[in-house]
């Protein structure tokens, strides 16, 4: 039955216009950024590596598809959660707003099956958006700007060879999928609590913003809280571009995100099982 319920949910998700907002936004933004990087990316990279050029000689195609994809990945990471909450926040609350819980839950379909089907549909949408983002930025970047090494400038400078990049990008986008699934799970949980889709969207974004601000404030009392915030672990993908990769940090961040996903899903199941459908 869950297979049928999942297919029905997917039909509903992809019949709504709001589902395509994310794809359209990324579909417009990524080509613009890639084109801009192709035209003026050399200056951007020159500015970033200005100090290094006094000591080292840089040769080869540094403004390439991989570099562009890495830059896009880092900057869109902040905005994609909003696109995801647009859909995830509406999955359950939308049924309450429309009054269609009455249609759905008077079918021979247990509430846990319904929640699972909706959660799977939300995950599918989220991951499709991440795959789309990866395909657009990597595909378009490589097609227009070619390939080459990536210069990663963090606390240390790492130059990653071309043949050492693919697996890092695959894992990084896998990690991004996990991080975005966490955002989707939080929105999904809030969606079960209210009867209006605006609430879960706003609340999830507010939580992300508040947690990010708290994480950025260097006050000792927040040191205890920071490791528990999922927002603090969403950037864990960056460790995959260290050399050598700090697998402990990657695993801890992935573990925290996964715990949040399981926690939100379980809480949603409990809430929905006890919920009286009054709309």
């Amino acid at each position: 039955m869950i297979g049928t319920a999942y297919r029905v949910e997917m039909s509903k998700v992809f019949s709504k216009w709001r589902t395509f907002i994310g794809f359209i936004a990324l579909g417009v933004l990524i080509p613009v950024v890639v084109a801009a990087m192709g035209i003026e990316g050399g200056q951007y990279l020159g500015f970033a590596t200005q100090a290094l050029k006094q000591t080292f000689d840089f040769t080869g195609n540094l403004m390439n598809g991989y570099t562009v994809s890495y830059i896009i990945f880092g900057s869109l990471y902040v905005h994609v959660p909003f696109l995801i909450t647009l859909v995830a926040g509406e999955v359950l609350a939308g049924e309450a707003t429309a009054g269609t819980y009455r249609l759905l839950l008077t079918r021979p379909l247990s509430r846990s099956t319904m929640v699972s089907a909706k959660f799977l549909a939300t995950l599918t949408y989220t991951n499709l958006l991440v795959v789309f983002m990866a395909a657009m930025s990597l595909g378009l970047g490589i097609a227009l700007l070619g390939t080459g090494e990536v210069v990663v400038i963090r606390s240390q400078i790492t130059i990653i060879a071309e043949n050492d990049l693919w697996w890092r990008f695959v894992l990084a986008y896998g990690f991004a999928a996990l991080a975005m699934t966490t955002v989707a799970s939080v929105a999904f949980l809030f969606s079960s609590l209210v009867e209006n889709a605006i609430g879960p969207i706003m609340t999830t974004m507010a939580i992300i913003i508040v947690m990010t601000i708290i994480s950025a404030i260097d006050i000792p009392i927040f040191d205890y809280l920071r490791p528990l915030f999922f927002t603090n672990h969403m950037n864990g993908w960056k460790f995959l571009f260290d050399d050598p990769v700090n697998w402990t940090k990657v695993s801890i961040s992935a573990g925290v995100l996964l715990t949040h996903i399981i926690g939100c899903y379980t809480a949603t199941q409990i809430i929905m099982r006890r919920k009286d459908i009054l709309t």
Partner: protein, 305 residues
């Protein structure tokens, strides 16, 4: 004794100190068109939502098809088609697509041809490909009935099914309910504010008020029980009044006009009164005993209030 299809025993639903349903007992037999009546806030919709497991009862038991709702929810819902209050749908989908998706979730093999047939029955065949957001309330109500019949259920629960329909639509739905019960042997649980609708379609009924059953039984038995409103039409009202006032029925006179006397009396008293007036050569053009469900409903709910 026919097999009980719905058995509700000592059902309660409390919201804090408010008792929406307060010890309700119901028995609906197979083949009944069962009228479920009550004033606003009586607990009708709460009861229906509990029957369909949309709301968890505070206490009490609900059995449908002889199965306990808590432990056999899906088995029961597979055999029920329902409209609960407003007919809400996925507005961004067409009527046909709504039915296709709901049909898949109904656990029955609902074919495209059966969807088209049902859309035809409710008069929406020509709008099958229109998005529901373009539908009027009445059209959504018809679609609501279509989705309730989609998987050929044994029990059909209709909560205010004719709200928003035009007079012809109301007649169509009434005929459909009668046809479902008579020709297809379906059991219909009909909650309605439109009392003549229940009077014309239901075989049995219950009136609830403040979460409790006030009276339950066969519609005709209930309508025939107790005092009736009798209108005596005659061209000699003053003389007829004089005669009646001289009898023990004097206190039953409610009012009179130039051409009629209205009395409240037992059915058994009518023949004696008519004979008495006829013996006195009072010309009677009509004697009409009436007990409408509306009057009965109001009298009962007012008594309880």
């Amino acid at each position: 004794m026919p097999t009980p299809l719905i058995e509700i025993h000592d059902l309660h639903k409390h919201y804090g100190s408010f008792h929406a349903v307060d010890g309700l007992d119901l028995h609906v037999s197979q083949g009944d068109v069962y009228g479920f009546l009550g004033p606003n806030g009586a607990g009708k919709s709460t009861t229906i939502r509990m029957m369909l497991s949309l709301i968890r009862p505070t206490s009490g038991s609900i059995k449908v098809f002889g199965l306990d709702l808590t432990s056999h929810r899906n088995d029961i819902l597979r055999r029920i088609g329902a409209i609960v209050e407003r007919p809400d749908f996925y507005n961004y989908l067409t009527a046909r697509r709504n039915l296709e998706l709901l049909g898949r979730l109904s656990g029955a093999d609902v074919s495209t041809s059966s969807i088209d047939r049902i859309l035809g029955i409710v008069g929406l065949a020509s709008r099958a490909s229109s998005k529901v957001k373009t539908f009027s309330h009445g059209m959504k109500q018809r679609l609501g009935i279509a989705q309730a019949l989609l998987h050929s259920p044994d029990l059909i629960v209709l909560d205010e099914p004719t709200t928003g329909l035009d007079p012809q639509g109301m007649v169509d739905i009434r005929d459909l309910i009668l046809e479902l019960a008579a020709d297809h042997k379906k059991t219909v649980f009909l909650s309605s504010h439109i009392l003549p609708e229940v009077e014309l379609t239901a075989t049995r009924m219950v009136i609830i008020n403040r979460g409790k059953a006030v009276v339950e039984g066969a519609v005709q038995d209930l309508l025939n029980a107790g005092r009736l409103k009798v209108t005596i039409e005659t061209s000699e009202v003053p003389r007829a009044l004089e005669l009646i006032r001289a009898t023990p029925l004097s206190s039953h006179i409610q009012s009179s006009t130039d051409g009629a006397i209205i009395m409240m009396m037992e059915r058994e008293e009518i023949a004696g009164l008519v004979a008495h007036l006829a013996d006195a050569r009072i010309p009677l053009s009509a004697v009409s005993p009436v007990r409408s469900l509306e009057e009965y409903f109001i009298s009962l709910t007012q008594e309880v209030s």
